[in-house]
Subunit: 195 residues, 2 copies
Amino acid sequence: MVRRTRAEMEETRATRLATARRVFTGHGYADTSMDDLTAQANLTRGALYYHFGDKKGLLAAVVEQIDAETDQRRQAVSDTAEDAWEGFRGRCRAYLEMALEPEIQRIVLRDARAVLDGTSPDSQRHCIQSMQRMIDNLIRQGIVAEADPQALASLIHGGLAEAAFWIADGEDGSARLAQAVDALELSLRGLLVKR
Amino acid sequence: MVRRTRAEMEETRATRLATARRVFTGHGYADTSMDDLTAQANLTRGALYYHFGDKKGLLAAVVEQIDAETDQRRQAVSDTAEDAWEGFRGRCRAYLEMALEPEIQRIVLRDARAVLDGTSPDSQRHCIQSMQRMIDNLIRQGIVAEADPQALASLIHGGLAEAAFWIADGEDGSARLAQAVDALELSLRGLLVKR
DNA sequence: CCCTAATCATACTCCTTGCATGTATTTTCG
DNA sequence: CGAAAATACATGCAAGGAGTATGATTAGGG
């Protein structure tokens, strides 16, 4: 195998991450061996263990990348909203739609949850924290009723994730998506302060 | 090793299930080898594969047993309620409290979700169905607003599971449990028809 | 009393992970 | 600029785990 130049070396980690993302998404974490990954790319296990430590480290790196991307996309959604409450609702809907992507379902919501118990500092904690901050603001503005922001964020985040699985499990995805959004609206309206 | 009598043979499967439950709860599915299980009980891998087919089959059997038990316990809770809505709320709270048990968190909510993708017919689908039936009744009685019962059940079930993880993650469990129940009440009241 | 099927034990095979070691390239520095 | 150190891989090896094949033992029926 030919040696790589310096520029290629720096690309190696990114390339490998992308490959792992693709293969993990297709085959799942458990059914993907390190040799499978080396076959898909053209590097060997040595590079893998050098860059990521172990198999879990590789998964953690993939999850972190996905998490950063999706959080950025969600941020863009809530930034364009009229007011804070609409931004929050939009963000919830955006999360629901993103959670339909196989990459997120399989890697983040299924495999990472089982493999990266408490080892990952953020995993999906990062996106729960974003949601928690939004809720905290809404409460301080008197829009949402008094409650613990973390508890609310966990509750909502978990609901959205499970709903996404339900949507993906059916044949008619768009119909289920609409139904899930309706259900979401119902439970969200309970958060508002009574007037 | 001494041969077992007929009566003991019939107990073998149940005994083995209980052992697997204990070891899976303590070490997790992935970190438990078949040899670990044979060491804990006093049967060998031959018996294991004879009764359960493979490792996933063993997990599926454990999950099914836990699921049946917990669903029965939840049924008892909602049966003693005054009206349908209180029964539903009580059942949600009961689920939240049960989801705190390590057995359920580790085996049902974490490992089974990753390992038994769509292979298990029920897994936690069974308890979502129970919840879905309750919601369906509440909607027909005009107590809960019109929505797809499955979507609502998925949303709520997922939220409760995630909230349980959040509670278990903290030190002061009872405080977090109270906060989670408050958050739950908020989102549940949104389901009621406006008067 | 023998025969068959059920129930378990044991001995393998194959695969995977992680590590240890080797090698080439790059960087650092006197 | 040249050597030493660090970096970025490649490769071979050992330990362990899953699943299977096959053998042994017993229950139960005819």
